[in-house]
Amino acid sequence: MALLEVNDLRTYFHTREGVVKAVDGVSFKVEAGETVGIVGESGSGKSVTCYSLLQLIPQPPGRIEGGTAKFGDLDLLSLGESEIRKVRGKRIGLIFQDPMTSLNPYLKISTQLMEPLLIHGKISKKEALERAIAELDAVGIPEPEKRIHSYPHEFSGGMRQRVMIAMALITRPEILIADEPTTALDVTIQRQVLDLIKSRQEELGTAVIFITHDLAVVSEVCDQVNVMYAGRFVERADVKTLFSSPRHAYTRALQRSIPALQSRGGKLYTIPGLPPNLAQGIEGCAFAPRCPEHEGMPEHSAVRPALTELEPGHWVQDCPACLAVKLTA
């Protein structure tokens, strides 16, 4: 049985402009120890998906409208506040994009690193400090017994993200949710942080849900990849298949728009238009307005296409047009 099994998750925001269906029927599984990626543009609903699992959506305006998230014998979506607290930060850890804003500037690293241990377990302060130092050491902070008494501003951006990783993993969670953990960092520091997440994951056997907009990062760290668009998954496959034979027009367009893969001089490929406004109901294929259509192509699906399994393990939204589009260089 999968470690986490999310089924038909729907999270809506009730705003003055209407109901924003930020996550509209998302299902996925996370097996123990594997890395599942969720890729998409800003506003596609990838963060809301993960925050829903931990009930971190501000309610109101947000509301989890339906679905289940089976985690062992628990359904994360229907847990009460006191029960979800036992999961949040203990069995499921979280790291955020911006380590500058997610660490408390007033508190020493030691206080912040020991906090999860003191809250979630019966442990003395002395023991907690020892474990916190060991954890800092494990994420590659030099002189951890000295540095642990520093404040966040005394660390560089990359070091702060290391501290965040230590904080998230110190309780030995079964799942780590990493929400754009390297987006705010330099490429060289990004490389170090990605390597660190990978090595800690291998040492501890933690499963990781990795949220990012960067397909190149996905290809380096993930086993399974879900491509998200307008609140739904448009394609899911193992990382090799997704990059060698992507099927959905959106996945292919995303891949083509990576600057690193394009040659100099010519115009960079971009996806025309903008993601749809989720406050206005979407009918039919959500990608249709931006799809690079050409002659002799079938029509876009008139109802919102369902995710169907093309080949074992390779799921695609079943829109005839999006599957048929030719994207020539």
Partner: protein, 264 residues
């Protein structure tokens, strides 16, 4: 004559340390940098954080005074000019910043942000409301924004659109030199391409000279004609983009290249 020339540019920062600042340490943020940029050229400046690329850009922009060396713009040493002349010259060199959320005033509409920029050059539009409005609309369209949004505030735009506003603002004073400091690193990959395309188009149309700062070599390679790699305040490698990319000479360049995430 090169359009912009940096001659042995150096900036040291001195930090007081110890008991009542008795000891000092010197950080050589920019250390004897010399380079030339031709008119219409895009120079990419890359390096890790802390390598001195932002300090260098602030020296070029005359926001910092160099410890030694000079910035020569169209044959004139900027340091020799009186302050009011530099103020006038400032229209000629504009900056685009990394974070369009922070660099736009949230309480100013697109119209007020852009008209302020336009009026630095075209003072005659001050009393010509219609003409000013037309100029703002024209500027918005040039960077790919719908001019119907002229009365909107920055928070009503997406990240990519905001960066377009920031670019329009930089173009407002009709500059000759644009210094773009990590203009796409805060944006989604799919939006990055749009902004890079726009910057290139503008360079071709307006014959802009551009310094493009980034930590991401793959982005710089696409947009820059030449790339300068910085490390510890020095330029460790400079050359044609493809040459730097395909046969890197310095260790810093090799390190930056190896850090780029690869699709495998």
């Amino acid at each position: 004559m090169s359009y912009l020339e940096l001659q042995n540019l150096t900036k040291h920062f001195t930090k007081r340390e110890g008991w009542i600042g008795s000891g000092t340490t010197t950080v050589k943020a920019v250390d004897d940098v010399s380079l030339r940029i031709e008119k219409g050229e895009i120079l990419g400046l890359v390096g890790e954080s802390g390598c001195g690329k932002s300090t260098l850009s602030r020296l070029v922009m005359q926001l910092l005074t160099p410890t030694s060396g000079s910035v020569v713009l169209e044959g004139e040493r900027l340091a020799d000019l009186p302050p009011n002349e530099i103020r006038k010259r400032r229209r000629d060199f504009q900056m685009i910043f990394q974070d369009p959320y922070a660099s736009l005033n949230p309480r100013m509409t697109v119209f007020s942000t852009l008209s302020e920029a336009i009026l630095t050059r075209k003072t005659e539009l001050k009393s010509d409301r219609k003409g000013l409005e037309a100029a703002v609309s024209g500027l918005m369209e040039r960077v790919g924004l719908d001019s119907r949004y002229i009365r909107k505030y920055p928070h009503e735009f997406s990240g990519g659109q905001r960066q377009r506003i920031a670019i329009a603002r930089a173009l407002g004073p009709e500059p000759k030199l644009i210094l773009a400091d990590e203009p796409v690193s805060a944006l989604d990959v799919s939006i990055q391409s749009q902004i890079l395309n726009l910057l290139r188009e503008l360079r071709d149309e307006l014959e802009l000279t551009m310094i493009f700062i980034s930590h991401d070599l793959s982005v710089v390679r696409y947009i820059a004609d030449r790339i300068a790699v910085m490390d510890e305040g020095k330029i460790v490698e400079i050359g044609e983009s493809d040459a730097v990319f395909d046969s890197p000479q310095s260790e810093t360049t090799k390190l930056l290249l190896s850090a780029i995430p690869q699709i495998r």
